[in-house]
């Protein structure tokens, strides 16, 4: 009797142990900005990826594939913090891939570690041109700033060639990258170019705007984040009228709503991001996303984040188990179906995307022109 009990006990323990083994999870890390300036985008990103993760895990469970676990951490837009996080993700948590970061400065800081450890890193929001050269394991699902800046530069040249120009930009990798890409797209520099940088966290832009008004500048290229709300407001109060050229941060209706009509007439590059289309095409995803985001609508960067997750899952479903295998599949695949349409990666790991021009009319984003061939 005792022998039977003991044998049964051993069998049960072994069965339980085997069950634990088949429940091993695949871990993916996510380094996002969940506090400070752009936290809103980090939070919607995490909600969107988690919503898609739920659906994908249901599919994986039906095929008896291991579940994916998403580990999220906040880089606070600080490169040093991002570095600590990715080291922990890779060395302690054993992630197979990392999604992130948002800020280019953080992505550039963590890229060498991902490259060294041969772990795929995919950003859904970092646009700095330097990321294209950050390594073979470094990808992004959003367009490079070079393309965005070049698109606006080409538009300026087509419509306003030679007219005095001002560039107001945030003094960081993002702002400087876009400024440079814009100016490099011009075949001839205009006779007057006012270079007006502002520090991160600035709230008073009256001096920059006063200089523009004083010099009678009629075309202004604006590169910033949330503070653009104040820039437009202060421009209106100062009686400044000009043609505004914007950046892709304007591809966010909730930001435009805060501006009222002060940003009307702005032309900016958009991502062919059609929220209504996503809601119709992916109803289950969107329903879950709204619950996780407490009702905040999806923005384009959250959608890019989901695309990053989709391509990693695709590689895993193809049998990839290591970072190198994931990387190879990402480069070899000619078309991924993402939330924002089909895309692939070029030899630098940059997503090849369509970029259209949009305009703000009566506080709403409307299509302006479809971009010419890339």
């Amino acid at each position: 009797m005792k022998k039977h009990f003991f044998s049964s006990f051993i069998v049960i323990v072994l069965l339980f142990g085997c069950q634990q083994t088949t429940e091993k999870k695949i871990k993916i890390g996510s380094i996002q900005q969940l506090s400070v300036q752009m936290a809103k985008y980090g939070k919607t990103h995490v909600a969107a990826v988690r919503a898609m993760l739920d659906l994908i895990n249901e599919e994986r469970k039906s095929k008896s594939l291991p579940q994916i676990e998403l580990i999220v951490d906040d880089d606070q837009l600080k490169p040093a913090v991002g570095v600590n996080i990715i080291q922990k993700f890779i060395d302690i948590d054993g992630v197979v891939a990392v999604i992130g970061a948002q800020g280019s400065s953080v992505t550039l800081a963590i890229a060498p570690i991902a490259e060294e450890k041969e772990v795929v890193l995919i950003s859904g929001a970092s646009g700095s041109p330097q990321i294209s050269d950050a390594g073979d394991y470094i990808f992004r699902t959003c367009p490079s700033d070079i393309y965005e800046g070049r698109t606006m530069g080409e538009y300026y040249e087509k419509r306003f060639k030679g007219e005095p120009l001002a560039i107001i930009y945030i003094n960081n990798d993002y702002g400087i990258g876009l400024r440079d890409a814009f100016l490099n797209a011009l075949s001839d520099r205009p006779s007057k170019v006012l270079d007006l940088a502002y520090a991160q966290g600035a709230v008073d832009f009256r001096n920059q705007l006063t200089k523009i008004k004083q010099d009678n500048i009629k075309v202004v290229y604006l590169v910033g984040y949330n503070e653009m709300v104040s820039i437009y407001k202060q421009a209106k109060e100062l009686g400044l009228t000009c043609q505004w050229l914007g950046n892709n941060q304007l591809n966010d209706q909730s930001l435009i709503d805060k501006m009222g009509t002060t940003a009307d007439g702005t032309i900016f590059p958009g991502h062919d991001f059609e929220l209504d289309k996503i809601k119709v095409s992916y109803p289950r995803f969107y329903y879950r996303y709204l619950k996780l985001s407490n009702g905040v609508e999806l923005d384009v960067f959250a959608a890019y984040g989901v695309d990053a997750f989709i391509v990693i899952n695709y590689a895993l479903m193809q049998g990839a188990q290591t970072g190198t295998e994931i990387k190879d599949i990402l480069y070899e695949t000619t078309s991924f179906e993402g939330l924002i349409g089909n895309f692939s990666f070029d030899e630098n790991g940059d997503a090849l995307r369509n970029l259209g021009l949009y305009e703000i009319k009566n506080s709403k984003i409307v299509k302006y022109l479809v971009s010419p061939d890339k």
């Binding site: 809103k40 003094n171 006063t210 949330n226 709300v229 104040s230 407001k233 109060e237």
Partner: protein, 291 residues
């Protein structure tokens, strides 16, 4: 050029209020109360809560926000600094405590309200009034006038009220004030109350004109400190003029250099004054200073 002068006057008026409140507190407690920056942010967000979220009439919302912020400032003095001081904490220890409080309150506001840009201004944005080649909005005019009125009120309180005279006595010599029978804890509580109220008013004014974020207190307190040093450490009213001088210097300075160096102008002024005139414009030359 006139527009830059107007821009500087507007900014300087806000710095002056922050510096006035900061200097009031410093004059009696003799340490840098960094949490003053958190009082600034709290004032703005309380006004936002009552006016925008609770839809309480504007004047009432602002009044309640100022009063609660002043109470909070006084509460910090009574519940945090005073017990530490009684246990013999040095000025440096109190400074560290105030820095901790500043970060804690700032993060609390960020947690509750989120980090995105907010405003307590309602209605469509209008072009400013136009005269003498200057554009200025009604809010900006109110900022300049309100700042001046509060400066006058503070001057009158300090010179002609019992509590004001007691405050000046404590600021002059703390130990002698005790010996003279002045209720120094009451005076110190009053300065925390009044100083925090001034910070809240400055924040509400700036939030009506620009926007607010949980991080807004950091720059505010830095400029407040610089303005106080320019005006003269220990000279409460001098801090007001230090604020005006700082605002005008920053904004007139960018006429000649790139706007990205605007903050650098402020810190350059700080270094210049510390090196060549550490007593500021109106302060007395001092043998030793502590932060």
């Amino acid at each position: 050029m006139l527009q830059f002068f107007a821009n500087g006057l507007i900014a300087g008026s806000v710095y002056a209020l922050i510096a006035l409140g900061f200097a009031l507190i410093y004059s009696t407690v003799r340490f840098f109360h960094f949490a003053h920056g958190a009082m600034y942010t709290t004032g703005a967000y309380l006004a936002f809560t009552f006016f925008i979220l609770c839809e309480i009439p504007f004047i009432l919302s602002v009044g309640i926000a100022i009063f609660l912020t002043a109470l909070l400032g006084m509460g910090i003095g009574i519940c945090v600094y005073e017990p530490m001081r009684r246990r013999g904490a040095s000025s440096f220890v109190l400074l560290i405590a105030s820095l901790g409080l500043f970060i804690l309150l700032q993060n609390l506001i960020s947690l509750i309200f989120g980090d995105d840009v907010k405003t307590i201004r309602r209605g469509a944005v209008q072009e400013g009034y136009h005269f003498l080649d200057i554009r200025i909005t009604n809010i900006q005019i109110i900022i300049i006038i309100a700042s001046l009125i509060l400066f006058i009120i503070t001057t009158l309180v300090l010179k002609h009220t019992k509590i004001g005279k007691a405050l000046r006595a404590v600021a002059n010599d703390y130990e002698l004030a005790i010996a003279a029978g002045i209720n120094t804890p009451k005076v110190v509580n009053f300065t925390y109350f009044m100083g925090s109220a001034l910070a809240a008013i400055a924040a509400i004014l700036i939030s009506l004109d620009l926007h607010m974020t949980p991080m807004m207190g950091f720059n505010a307190i830095l400029y407040g400190i610089i303005a106080m040093i320019i005006g003269g450490l220990g000279n409460i009213l001098g801090a007001y003029f230090g604020g005006l001088f700082l605002g005008l210097s920053q904004h007139l300075g960018v006429v000649f250099i790139s706007s990205k160096w605007q903050d650098a102008i402020a810190f350059s002024l700080l270094i210049i004054f510390l090196l060549f005139r550490p007593q500021g414009f109106f302060g007395k030359r001092i043998e030793r200073a502590q932060i």
